[in-house]
Symmetry: C2
Subunit: 284 residues, 2 copies
């Protein structure tokens, strides 16, 4: 049996009881931390807390040479640990299909995710989020890919919120900060070229006709919500203009950014009360 176990959002206690039981029962425990990693715990922390030995595999050792993992899962119990939910990345789906192909039973133990936390911590309703997107590292450039802006614009056209994952290079221990992301997005929406790319849809942002739509603003006035350390005991949530978020420091990773669409009354109230959203950016 090969069981994929989600470690959840933040540290060694973010795993479910069911996941912990799988860990304790497994003959061998593998993990990969190249697609994502726990911000609040090291591998040693997880090993010590749960009393298990973890064999960490790099990308090469998971994708090119999966045989040791598959062999361990044949006839005995192997667990494969991943931060968040285990099947978010196609690399794990691929490993699961290989196992099924060899007649090995597989199972998934779910973990808590940034997607859920982004909705839960901000009060923005989960069924009012559109497609999510990822802001990638620009490595020297401040460009924002057109696909990111298009996703945000398409969602806003329908009044929907957008969750922006911020790039992680887990192998280099590099995490994009939300102030950096806010600065780049404010800049992209301000630049003529990129603003053109979304102008077709931003003209109809208030397509649902409820009057709550807000067009992109060329001065970084767009309301956004910064989330830092979701899943920890002290996450930081702050709603403000992109230009203001760009000036703040949100501390340790991981960070997330949400660009709200239309706000219902309860959502606006939550952003004001829990995230300090400026009243002039909220529907009256």
């Amino acid at each position: 049996m090969l069981t994929f176990v989600g470690l959840g959002l933040y540290d060694e206690r973010s795993i479910t009881i069911e996941g912990r039981d799988v860990l304790n029962k497994a003959d061998r425990v593998f993990a990969e931390f190249y697609t994502s990693k726990l911000a609040g715990a090291t591998t040693a922390d997880v090993e010590a807390f749960h009393g298990v030995d973890i064999e960490v595999r790099d990308r090469e050792g998971t994708e090119r040479d999966p045989d040791p993992i598959l062999d361990a899962a044949r006839g005995s119990d192997a667990a494969f640990l991943v931060a968040g939910d285990p099947m978010i990345s196609t690399t794990h789906v691929d490993l699961r299909l290989r196992a099924v192909d060899r007649g090995i039973d597989t199972q998934v133990v779910h973990g808590t995710t940034a997607q859920t936390a982004a909705s839960s911590l901000t009060g923005l309703q989960n069924y009012r989020f559109g497609k999510a997107t990822t802001l990638p590292f620009a490595y020297g450039s401040d460009n924002v890919p057109e696909s990111v802006l298009t996703t945000i614009a398409n969602n806003r056209e329908r009044g929907l919120h957008t969750l922006c994952y911020l790039d992680i290079d887990a192998e280099r221990e590099a995490y994009m900060s939300v102030d950096d992301a806010a600065r780049r997005l404010a800049g992209a929406l301000d630049s003529t070229g990129t603003a053109d790319a979304v102008s077709d849809v931003s003209d109809t942002t208030d397509a649902d006709g409820d009057g709550a739509g807000v067009d992109f603003d060329a001065d970084g006035n767009t309301l956004a919500v910064a989330i830092a350390r979701a899943g920890s005991s002290a996450p930081v949530i702050r709603a403000d203009r992109l230009s203001a978020l760009a000036e703040d420091d949100f501390g340790e990773p991981l960070h997330l950014l949400v660009i709200p669409g239309d706000l219902h009354y309860a959502e606006a109230e939550t952003l004001r009360t829990l995230a300090g959203a400026p009243t002039d950016l909220l529907p009256s």
Copy 2:
């Protein structure tokens, strides 16, 4: 301190270790099961497993008379348990805002959710889901609200997957089955009136021009994925035509339905291998 704790997806072991620790430390433990409930455990199961007494509140006792909960959270530790993630419903957000308003510290311990599981169990990538929707009970009618069809059509226009939550009436212990949902959706897409409602966008379903778009089919030929008992140790995942899913029996709740948009190669391969999707419905 008032801590909102997500019980997670399925039973008494779906809670995180962090959530369990909050339960054990709390002076009083409240719960509500009117917005959602654990399909695989009773309140007594949760109490026995975790060694706590749970005071279950109905809607009236949470929304109209929250004072006992708020009083318990002032000066001592109260936990408020909810199936899934605790902030999915606005009713909990409202309770949190009332607590903040009274100067009571609040905290959220996240739980695993259907949203994550729908992506994880099907292999459909989480960033390729659009807005989610809920198919409500029709109580005698087989109608599907136009808003549900519009959401599905809008997502498909962009090649995005749609997660359809199926209505729960937790107080009556009524759960919509996925075969029922598939039958209703197949019928709605077949009926002239509702098909008209989505025809504008279904004409441009393949808007991304990759050739993988599939228009709604008037014979219930639309590919859909049924999910039963997500979060349990033996969830059922089956991909087939809506008309075929309508003829099947998926057993105990909870059920979910996913209407895929365009399928990437790895997604199609996963639906074929893990969910038995008919090859003629997959992109070649």
